[in-house]
């Protein structure tokens, strides 16, 4: 019972954060058709923004979370202005946009290295302490993370489902030309999606960096897993992504509990290959084959 519970809790914890990362990727993919490989760098931007607010300005964690989201969103808007807009509608969009986001990721990571140095940092936990239940340690920090992540995911879900802006996003993702003809401001919607997605990456950054260490390169591994989650859930499907995030989180932490940490990536990799062979469109994907 004890290892099962531990794997479950670890999976829910990391699944929440992966969900935040992956939702951003899937939103951008669904609407802008952009594979944003700078997503991991936005994670790092958010985490360092929060670290600066906490450690240098000495403000409380709530302020740090807000700072992370806002700063990452500003960077997301910057990517929209400098990369997405000039490239939109141009032939060779696929390849140019991928390379451009790789370039942005490299530049942001290098800038973080220059400003903050290579030494690892850690964001201190808000609420220290933990409760032990049938032999498994549940840290209060972990509960805060899960709560924040779940609240954000739910509010995003309702935002997309019910608000006018959310409907605009969904309309653009279904058919850009038709929604432009119906008077949906496509450009603005793109910018909005980029900012929301970047903000979520920043949020994931501050949340996960209180559990793991923070270094300029630490956004890469979460991004890879978030990519797996997005694809497993079916690219462009929000519901599928959330389900997939928790499934992948639980799978990863089960492997870690039973086989050891170094096995998690190989097992995930083989799992992904198997999934892509059996269900090439992911869990909830709808005929994605023609989207790229």
């Amino acid at each position: 019972m004890r290892p099962v519970l531990q794997a479950l809790w670890g999976g829910i914890l990391s699944g929440s954060v992966y969900g935040l990362m992956a939702i951003g990727l899937t939103l951008i993919w669904g609407t802008v058709r952009l594979l944003n490989l700078a997503h991991g760098a936005l994670y790092v931007v958010g985490a360092y923004a929060a670290w600066t607010v906490l450690e240098i300005l000495g403000l409380p964690l709530a302020a740090a979370i807000v700072a992370a989201v806002v700063v990452a969103a500003i960077f997301g808007y910057g990517i929209h202005l400098l990369v997405v807009r000039p490239l939109l509608g141009r032939a060779g969009w696929d390849s140019a946009s991928i390379i451009a986001t790789v370039g942005v990721a490299i530049a942001l990571t290098a800038a973080a290295l220059l400003i903050f140095g290579p030494r690892v940092k850690q964001i201190p936990p808000v609420v220290p302490g933990s409760v032990i239940f049938s032999g498994v340690r549940f840290s209060y920090q972990g509960m805060v993370i899960v709560a924040v992540a779940v609240v954000s995911l739910l509010s995003l879900f309702f935002y997309l489902a019910n608000s006018r802006q959310g409907m605009a996003i969904r309309a653009v993702s279904q058919d850009m030309d038709a929604s432009a003809l119906m008077g949906v401001p496509v450009e603005t919607t793109y910018a909005r999606v980029m900012m929301i997605s970047a903000g979520l990456a920043g949020l994931a950054g501050v949340l996960l960096s209180s559990l793991l260490f923070l270094s300029p390169n630490s956004g890469f591994a979460p991004m890879i897993i978030a990519l797996m989650v997005t694809i497993f859930g079916g690219l462009g499907s929000v519901k599928g992504t959330i389900v997939a995030a928790y499934l992948i989180g639980i799978l990863e932490s089960t492997v870690q509990v039973y086989l050891g940490g170094s096995w998690s990536l190989p097992v995930l990799f083989l799992f992904m290959i198997a999934v892509l062979i059996i269900r090439p469109n992911g869990l909830f994907g709808v005929t994605e084959a023609h989207r790229l």
Partner: protein, 364 residues
Amino acid sequence: MTDSAGRSVLDRLDSAAGPWRTPRWGTIAFLGVIALVLPHLLLRFGAGTFIVHMLILFFLWSVVAQSWNLVLGVSGIYSFAQIAFFAVGGWVTALLSMNLGWNPWLSVLAAPLAATLAAILIGLPTLRLRGVYVVLLTLAFHELLGNLASTGPREITGGGYGLIGVPRFDFGPLSGLGHLANSYYVALISFVVATMAIWRLFHSPIGSAFSALRDSEGYAVGRGINQFRIKLFLFGFSAFFTGLAGGLMTHYLGSISSSVFAFSVLINVLAMIVIGGWGSFGGPIFGTALLLGLQEGLRDLADFRTLVLGLALAAVAVLAPTGAWPKLRDGFRNFLDQPGSGDPDLEEPTEDRSAETEEGPRLT
């Protein structure tokens, strides 16, 4: 037209119409003589040793860049596994020569084969899938091998320091020339062979098949081109030369470690292709020379180098998607003769391709 595959078609085709082309032997002979004499001239000077070393690095890395360009730029498969193939080649030949006592000349031949095998293994599940999936699976493969190299069993990976003391090539009766000059010739030969093979592939029926696939997939598939088979072939082909370069590099440097998986290596090679001009034939070669030169010239910049590289990558992708080489080449041509008056025979088909990617909608 020496290509045996092209010969049967040639009778029916105007020589300017198809991609079946002959190289300019005069230029090649001229460059060849320079390349052969160069180390002897350089090694007479004090700084020459270093320049010859840089030339060896240039030859080997440009093989990697050209092979990756074949996959990434020419056929539009967003694979990031190229460095992993490079490492596979290096590790295999290092292990064979160190642990099993193979002669380096023999074991280095196993490197391209192992890399091709790895490429086929990774290509079989991934290449049926499209863009994003390929990015993910190849990146994960790269990350996976990198993890394995730093945490795997010590007798295979060599642990944190990697494999040190890989035996170097023994040049036997030729060793009078000096190890550096001999290594230079080995690198030169591999560069020439790889470049010729890639050039041949560019200007062959397969070459037109993959540019057709990239430019108008529906049309290409409709004409009966087997997409999966062509992609798998290209993947293996590019891994072959990448693995060879990896093996030669390992024997030349005498070591290989998990640092080859560092993100900076991947970025460097990517920058060689993109800044040089991806999708064009000369782009990666020019890019390799440019970046290796910059690496030395910008040594003072140290940490800022990566920042500059990243910004340059993004800027090239946004502002000048064709890269530096096609622009330089066209500029040179315009300088030589007035635009428009050029002999159509002299225009390379790659030029047309790059113009298409830059400007506008293609066949839809």
